[in-house]
Every structure is written in C-alpha cells, then in structure tokens.
C-alpha cells in the first residue's frame, strides 16, 4: 500500500521511467532535473546528465537550484564552456534526450516560452528561449514536461519559441531540424504522444484515477485519445522514498547559511 503522493511526484516518477541507462540527457532545472537524477539513482546508474552550464556527466548529490550550481561542476566528468556545450555537444548531435517545458504548447508539440500576447506589446513577458530552440532542433528526442490546463494546452500559440512537428504530417522531417522532435509530453494527468501518421498529440496513458475525459477537458483543443490508453502504475515505495530523500537532502543543503570571506 503506497503512501499518498503529490501530482509533482507522480510527474517526476513518470518522467524518470522514460529514461534508460547510458542515455545522454540534456537537462534543465526543476522537474526534469529531479526526474533525470531519480532515474540515475534507480534504474539508470550510467545515464549521462549534461546541463547547459557546461557540466558534462554530472552526478549531483543534491538537486541544483540553478542551472550552474557548484555541485554540478564538482561532480562532473568535464566542465566545458557555454559555446562548446552548444556547438560540440548539442549541435554536434551528442544528445539523446532533451527536456523542455513551456507556458504554451499546441497540438503538434510546438512550444511558447517567450510571451503571452503580442511580442511588441506583451500581456505577460516570459523568461524567453534560453537553449530551447536548439534543444528542440538537435536532440534526437525531446521530452516535454507541463501541467495540463486549457490555458497552457492551446489551439494557437501566441509565439513559437521552439518547433515541434510544426503543422504535422511530416513537415518537420522535411525541415532542417535533425532531431526527431517531441516524443512524449508528461503532464499531471498522464502521457501524450504524437500520432505516428498525423503527428498530432494524443493521450496514450493516464495516472491511476484519471479519466480520458479529464484530460480532454484540461486541453484547449479537441484532444484525441489513442485507441488503447495504458494505466500508469503509481509511484512505487522505492521511487517515492528515493525521490523524497533526494528532495530532503536538497532542502537541507540549500538551507545552510552562506558564509562569504569579506
């Protein structure tokens, strides 16, 4: 009998399960970082984590709060420059999986992390692209992690920050992007994957106690549901304990007061 878990915990566990041993993973901060490190602590001990700060093959004891925490450098196989990590490692085609998140996603997995409203007169100015446009283009696969709401899963993006399957139907394959694009979207309800023919995202798996109807209602376009929808097993005790230990270690480490030699 499992202890209860939060939606974030379920999402993190679901994302971690998608990663395999020796997978080379370009990781961002937050849930993807937690998922990738959880995978490393469980079934993927030799997973290779690369953060865009230039830390290659890092094995942090605690989760970084910033993309460039000292912990990432201390535990890395190599620390390289920012130009190198984007040129030799990402654009050079060394990345198997790149994680992406965004404020808006459309049915073809195109993402907006730049602006809500008009770019010149924004209603809400978002942080912007960072590494996303090139991660979306060059990683062999991208995994998207987002909470599913009608405001985030929209029929039309306000701005396209990084390209998924464009308008679908094989358009991306004819573009100059080398990567295969978004292969899965991990939400707080379940998993979406592109339909092999149309490349439109559809529900392929749901968490325990979540109905396909909930997923459809949480989506701003008429979300398609795959012929067969898998039931995603809840977090195991081991998954949950490992994740909570990781978060506890992280909170303890980052709670320490900072001493500066001045």
């Amino acid at each position: 009998m499992n202890t209860p878990w939060t939606p974030d915990e379920m999402m993190t566990v679901a994302a971690a399960r998608l990663l395999w041993d020796r997978c080379v993973c370009f990781v961002g901060i937050g849930l993807p970082s937690a998922a990738a490190n959880l995978a490393r602590l469980l079934h993927a001990p030799r997973i290779v984590l690369i953060y865009e700060s230039g830390t290659v093959g890092t094995r942090p004891e605690v989760l970084p709060l910033s993309i460039g925490d000292g912990e990432l450098a201390d535990t890395a196989t190599a620390v390289v420059s920012i130009p190198e990590v984007f040129a030799y490692w990402l654009q050079g085609g060394r990345i198997d999986v790149g994680f992406l998140g965004a404020a808006q996603i459309d049915r073809f997995g195109n993402l907006n992390s730049t602006v809500i409203g008009d770019y010149a007169r924004p209603r809400t100015r978002l942080p912007g692209s960072g590494g996303a446009p090139e991660i979306a283009a060059h990683a062999r696969q991208t995994f998207i992690v987002m909470k599913q709401t009608p405001r985030a899963f929209v029929p039309q993006l306000d701005f396209c920050t990084s390209a998924g399957f464009l308008a679908g139907g094989g358009l991306r394959a004819r573009s100059s992007a080398k990567g295969e694009g978004p292969q899965v979207v991990v939400t707080d309800l379940g998993l979406l994957r592109p339909n092999p023919a149309t490349e439109e995202l559809e529900v392929v798996a749901l968490y325990q106690g979540v109905s396909a109807d909930e997923a459809v209602r949480a989506t701003g376009w008429p979300l398609r549901v795959a012929a067969t929808v898998d039931a995603i097993p809840p977090p195991s005790d081991q998954e949950l304990h490992t994740l909570r230990d990781l978060h506890a270690r992280t909170a303890a480490a980052h709670g320490r007061p900072v001493h500066v030699p001045y």
Partner: protein, 290 residues
Amino acid sequence: MALMTLADAVATFVRDGQTIAMEGFTHLIPFAAAHEIIRQGRTDLHLVRMTPDLIYDQMIGAGCARALTFSWGGNPGVGSLHRLRDAVERGWPRPLEIVEHSHAGMAAAYVAGASGLPFGLLRGYIDTDLGRVNPQVKAVTCPYTGESLATVPALRPDVTIIHAQQADGAGNVLLRGIAGVQKEAAMAARALIVTVEEVVGRLDAPLNAVVLPGWLISAIACVPGGAYPSYAQGYYARDNAFYLVWDDVSREREPFGRWMKAHVLGTPDHAAFLRSVGVISTRDASGVSA
C-alpha cells in the same frame, strides 16, 4: 593591466551610452561591479548578457539601461524578473529596447566577436518566431551543401566585466569552475574589467586552467564576495535564499526603490553592501566550500 579600486575602474572605463557585457553563467556574476555602476549613476547603457538574472533586474529597475541583448530572462529556480518585466511590459522606469537571442545564438555571437569575425554561424532559430522578431538573425547558404544556416552579428561590447577567483601580481586572472561565456565576452570587448576574490603571489592554476593574461585586462579590482549573491567556486556558495527574497523585494516598484536606496545607493562599497544585507563574514576562506 592596472590594479585599482572598483570605483576607479568603473569611473575610468564605463561611460553613459556604452554597450556593456557583464557575464557569468549563474557562477561568478559580477554583482559588485553592477552596484558600482548604479552608484555612479551610469545611464543609457546597452546591457548584454545571456541570463540577465538579478544583476540586470537591478540595473534595469535603477534606470541604467536603454537596451538589453539577452537569451533567457528569468530568476533561476524562482520565476520572473519583475523589474525586467515592468520595463518591457510597462516601460518603467523607461522603455527598454530588447534584442532577443537563443543561448546558442548568443554564444556564437560572442565567439565571433572574440575571433575577429563579423558574424557567427549556427544551426539555430529553426522554424521559430525568434528569428522573425529579431532582425539581426539572418542566413547564409553553405557553399558546399547548399543548405541555409542561421547567422548572428558578432558581439563586440565596449566594456566587458567579469568576476574571477584570483589575480596574481602581473594581473593574470584565474577562473575556476563553470566558465560560461566569460573568455569569449572578455576577448570580444574593447575594454575588460575583472573583479577578483583575492590577489595572490602565484595563481593556483594547473596546466590547462582557464587563465586570462594580464595584458588583455584594462583594470583589475580586488572585491571579496564580489559575486554575491551568486557564488565563487572554492570561496562561497550561492545564496539561494537571496534569490527567493528578491522575488518579493522586486515585485513592486516602491519596495524595490527602498531596497536599492538602503543597500546599494546607500552603501559606499561592496563590503558595506554585504554588511547591510546581513551576509555572514568569515575571514577563513579555507573553511568555506562553494
């Protein structure tokens, strides 16, 4: 290079209206130098930085900037940069022209600047709106394959300012840990100011360490804690609590103004700033791990 106070370095090399790059990718962010620029009331600056972070949120809110070239403008691990948003969304304290890139594009632009090339080349901005809203992003055709590749104009800041761990007597500077885009920003600039944690007799630099020779550097200022609230590998850790608190401090204009007046404008130098925000001092650097 000349060893001088940070106040003198800024007074000597930083002018209103210039293009200024202050780099450091979450590590070694030159906060002390930014505060000194704010104290000296520099304005009309074109600020360049991949991740504006709190350092440019403060400078933008203080009215130093007319333009910003950047690639990711958030509070890392926290959320929005409220002063940046206020400037972009509502033009306060003044309208801010933005030139927006991806990380890869901006890195390529710095590399081109450091290399004496007029532009950088990348497989970038593919099928995105970024290339549409940034007229600087153009394309060239490969003379071998015929494919189209993105180009970005070289970044050549008037002044680049970075923070590092050590300088020696000859002004050679050692940078340890995450090196970000600092070497490229440093070598692309017309003038280079470096703040360091300490000046030592001999750099603690193994073969293949990241070292900038003193003759590249316009001015060096010794400013212990100069990267706080970011961190300096081997000297002190990132103050994550400060980044969280900043979300509240910076959310509204008045509290932000009071905070800047009390802690930046109201302090003579970085040591006074650190004391004013209650940073715990230790004279024993060796006891501290970053």
